[in-house]
Amino acid sequence: MRPAIRASRRTLLRAAAVGATALAAGCSGGSRSVQVAVVWSTSELDRFREVVAGYPAPVQVVSAGNDIDAFLRARHLAGTSPDVAILPRPGLVTEYAQRGWLSPVRPSTGYAVPAGLSELLTAEGQRYGVWVKAAHKSLVWHLPSMLPVPPANWDELVRRTRELGALARRDGGPAPLAIGAADGWVLTDWFENVLADVAPESYNALARADADWQGSAVREALDRLAGLWSIDGAFVGGGRRALLTQYEESVIQVVHTRRAVMLVGADFTADVADPFQRGPQAPVTFRFPGASSGGGPLIVGGDAAVAFADARGGVELVEWLTRADSFQPWLRSGGYLSPNTNVTIDSYRDRVAQRLAEEMRTPGTLRFDLSDQLPGPFTGSDGVGIWRIMQGFFADVTDGVRAGEAIRRATGLLAAAARNAGGGR
């Protein structure tokens, strides 16, 4: 390569880079700041920037979008890994740790999370990540005027769905359920809730390498789902239409167009619903019903912070993020659920958030999102892994395929996918 030519190309590229950085307002600081890559965008990103504004040193927040894994791989190859990253799946934390990309971290003394969560972020006895944000995934949303008395248990939910479904078919009333089946994670959340209720003792085993996806626990959970999903008129526009409905649209069907009564969704549903609310009536929640009244399963998801090996200031920032008061700005503006049980309940803005935070502290019932723990492509994305398999199952049972046959197909595919991803029997 001739130096002159190389220089000219470099210059051009540098010009491009300089222009780009100049445009990326607020991204450059004078002294070297700690760089954090996050999955969040738009309003969540703004909230997080408010949070780190309280950190004593300058922090640069980079939004890597949904495919943060590819982003971090590329940065690692280039030797330009950020100092800290916030990862959406615990599987990524252990994977990076095993590759030696991460540095062990220590939480602050004021950090405590519900039992079973910390273990997901350890590898070879070392802690490589801390939880910084939690999601409560065992909620059913509805408008109080559309459903005055929520069903207390699963059988009641099935009964109400039958009644409302029959009404909807006869008089064109609202359908009992809205479901964003075009997004695979909506269906896996349903499945996880039912599984945690049907077979709480087998739930965690399914995340391990020797998981039995054709065993009775999975079959029973799918059978219970099939019983509800196959009800005539259960979903707005029927099963085929539901498979083309994205999650946000299903929220709109409940809070705005009111074509459906209930919706299973996580705590962040409130943020989605907010701009579409019609009149003063805000949607409210009840817990995803279990077989017996009261309690019910509790599935949580979460985002974890990690520090990269030979990062400067990374471990310190991670430690700071685990302090009980660090996330106060986000707590005050709402839409944030802390995994830290030492955050006082009073810090939450409204009653709903306070109740959810309290539920997360009930000992013993909590399970972490199963699909987020699955290995490789099995974890699911559009058209891939457990997302695709659950969509196939949904299509089968809403299309009149017998439950037994649909379950046989789904468990076969699940077992095969687990095998291909390096786990399962």
């Binding site: 051009l12 491009a16 445009l23 495919d67 280039a78 997004d183 695979g184 526009g237 498979l243 579409f276």
Partner: protein, 588 residues
């Protein structure tokens, strides 16, 4: 990749025939060094990654495994359907585009409204494919109270609203995608056919008639055999290669649950290997690469002619010929209206706020500027537009410089060397980036620019260079002997000569610049694979928003409109230069 780049491959295809005689250019000397930047870029970011991908397809962690990856990849459930669908795309869509392109080119010739019709058909060509996807997803929305096409289909089939035909459902999704693709590409075919039809000497038709030939004979002997056969083959081949880039459309238009039913090889490779290129993904990639390059080579050899073609003396101003029959003119007008509908749907949706656009059809709520207002008062869209503008400008300038330097010595080549260079450059310009993403990232890692704006720009430059070199080389080689001699006598140094020659080739330079700029501006895949931290280019920015399509449709439509203004204006303004610059070898 954008579809527009292939506009030039028409000219490119012409350039692989027997040697030109009597070159006015001197023998290559020290100027071969000018090839260096292009050679380094292509070698490092195209050729080496291709070899690495081939290597990865037959090894696991460096161990030789023979054809094992190919067997696994091809035996994976659904691969047969995916391959079949890819082939269907490569055969059916080009046939439709070619037929429609010829019909509309013939129907819009020599009539007053023809220019307007062609202008309307040209607009979709310039749109980012992501925007085309957004537009058609709005039309095909499964809810008849929002999706215009679904509403019309419901009325036509007489079904109830609850039982509306689902154009994005598993049964119809490929047809829906194909319709969007045809909409985007027909304008290009019309452009090419029109210049081909204009090049047919009218005297030929007179001669056929003089021998008693009818309308059918005129069509066959005076149009089809001398020129249209080749043009048809070229257009067909170009569109067929273009269908390998349907990736953007699938990503934007299909909900997650039907993605499998729409999947083609491009998507399957993406799902199998993502940003890395290993094992099964690499094997599928090699299959795809061989098919694409093989296809373009067959087309190139099949349609080759003298390099460059014998110069046709400028035809005298054609005598006025009667405009086409009324039924054809109506056909052209009807097509123009039909092509306007999706654009109108996009603009109408953009004129609604978030709630209105999500909850009901654009026809049932009064328009307002809420979505635009939110966008232009925010910072995100401006930052994205600014970044994309800087990126596209820097890439275009660099590509132009590198390609001009390389084209100058290459234009001197004759005989087999010229043909071989042509074929190599042609092959390099159709390599799908998904296939070589992993190795490219490794190379970028070596120069410490993976995951940065510089890295993104480098990949764009490397992908743009082969095509730019081809076009400029043809333009240089095509210059009349006298101009070359003047330039060489007048220029004291090689760069003076180069500058003088470039000035004579203004159309080619403009064409290369516009196409490269529009290509980078409209890109999704490269931006997605080599995303830079901090700022996102336009394509990934729009595609990211489609993840919650309905609740976002107002803002999405508005940003799509704003994103399309610049490429459409550029292509429309420079369309004469585009045709002149790119088709120079064939028609001028």
């Amino acid at each position: 990749m954008s579809e527009v780049r292939v506009l030039g491959e028409l000219a490119v295809l012409d350039d692989v025939g027997p040697a030109r005689r009597g070159r006015a250019y001197p023998a290559a000397g020290a100027t071969s060094a000018l090839l260096l930047p292009a050679a380094v870029l292509l070698g490092g970011l195209v050729l080496w990654p291709v070899l690495r991908t081939m290597h990865a397809s037959v090894t696991t962690d460096g161990r030789w495994v023979g054809a094992a990856h190919f067997r696994t990849a091809l035996a994976a459930p659904g691969t047969g359907a995916v391959v079949g669908r890819t082939v269907l795309w490569a055969l059916l869509v080009p046939a439709v585009v070619t037929a429609l392109g010829y019909l509309l080119a013939a129907a819009s010739r020599r009539s007053q409204e023809g220019g307007l019709v062609r202008l309307i058909l040209l607009v979709p060509v310039a749109l980012p494919l992501v925007v085309t996807g957004v537009t058609f997803r709005l039309m095909y929305d499964p809810d008849p109270s929002r999706g215009l096409a679904t509403l019309v289909a419901t009325r036509l089939t007489g079904r109830s609203v609850e039982d509306a035909p689902q154009l994005l459902g598993p049964g119809m999704v490929t047809v829906a995608l194909m319709s969007a693709f045809v909409w985007a590409w027909v304008g290009l075919a019309v452009l090419v056919f029109r210049s081909a039809l204009d090049a047919v000497p009218p005297s030929l038709a007179d001669a056929v008639r003089a021998y008693g030939g009818g309308r059918r004979h005129v069509l066959w002997d005076a149009q089809w055999r001398p020129l249209l056969l080749r043009t048809t083959a070229v257009v067909f081949a170009l569109v067929a290669v273009g269908t390998s880039r349907t990736f953007d459309l699938i990503l934007v238009m299909t909900p997650g649950s039907v993605r499998d039913e729409a999947s083609v090889l491009a998507l399957r490779i993406w799902q199998t290997s993502g940003g890395t290129t290993t094992g099964d993904g690499a094997a599928l990639g090699v299959v795809w690469l061989v098919a694409v390059i093989g296809g373009i080579m067959v087309a190139a050899l099949f349609v080759r002619q003298a390099w460059p073609p014998p110069r046709v003396e400028a035809a005298p101003e054609p005598a006025p010929v009667a405009p086409p029959r009324r039924v054809f003119r109506l056909l052209a007008a009807g097509a123009a209206v039909a092509w306007l509908v999706p654009l109108a749907v996009l603009v109408a949706t953009s004129a609604h706020g978030r709630v209105d656009a999500a909850a009901r059809g654009w026809w049932s709520a009064p328009p307002n500027a809420e979505s635009y207002h939110d966008l232009v008062t925010g910072t995100e869209l401006w930052r994205t537009l600014g970044f994309t503008l800087v990126l596209a400008t820097a890439v275009t300038a660099t590509v132009l410089v590198v390609a001009l330097l390389a084209a100058y010595p290459l234009a001197w080549l004759t005989g087999p060397a010229a043909q071989a260079t042509g074929l190599l450059l042609l092959a390099a310009s159709v390599v799908p980036i998904q296939v070589i993403a992993g190795p490219v990232n490794e190379v970028l890692g070596l120069v410490l620019s993976s995951g940065t704006a510089q890295g993104l720009a480098l990949v764009h430059i490397a992908l743009g260079v082969p095509f730019a070199v081809l076009v400029l080389r043809n333009a240089f080689a095509d210059l009349p002997v006298e101009q070359v001699r003047d330039a060489r006598l007048g220029g004291r140094r090689w760069w003076h000569t180069l500058r003088r020659l470039a000035r004579h080739n203004l159309s080619a330079v403009v064409a290369v610049s516009v196409l490269e700029f529009v290509q980078v501006w409209n890109d999704l895949v490269v931006g997605r694979l080599f995303s830079a931290s901090g700022a996102s280019p336009l394509g990934p920015f729009l595609a990211e928003q489609t993840r919650s399509f309905v609740s976002n449709s107002g803002a999405l439509a508005a940003s799509s409109v704003l994103a399309s203004v610049l490429p459409v204006v550029l292509v429309v303004l420079s369309r004469r230069h585009l045709v002149a610059g790119l088709v120079s070898g064939g028609v001028r």
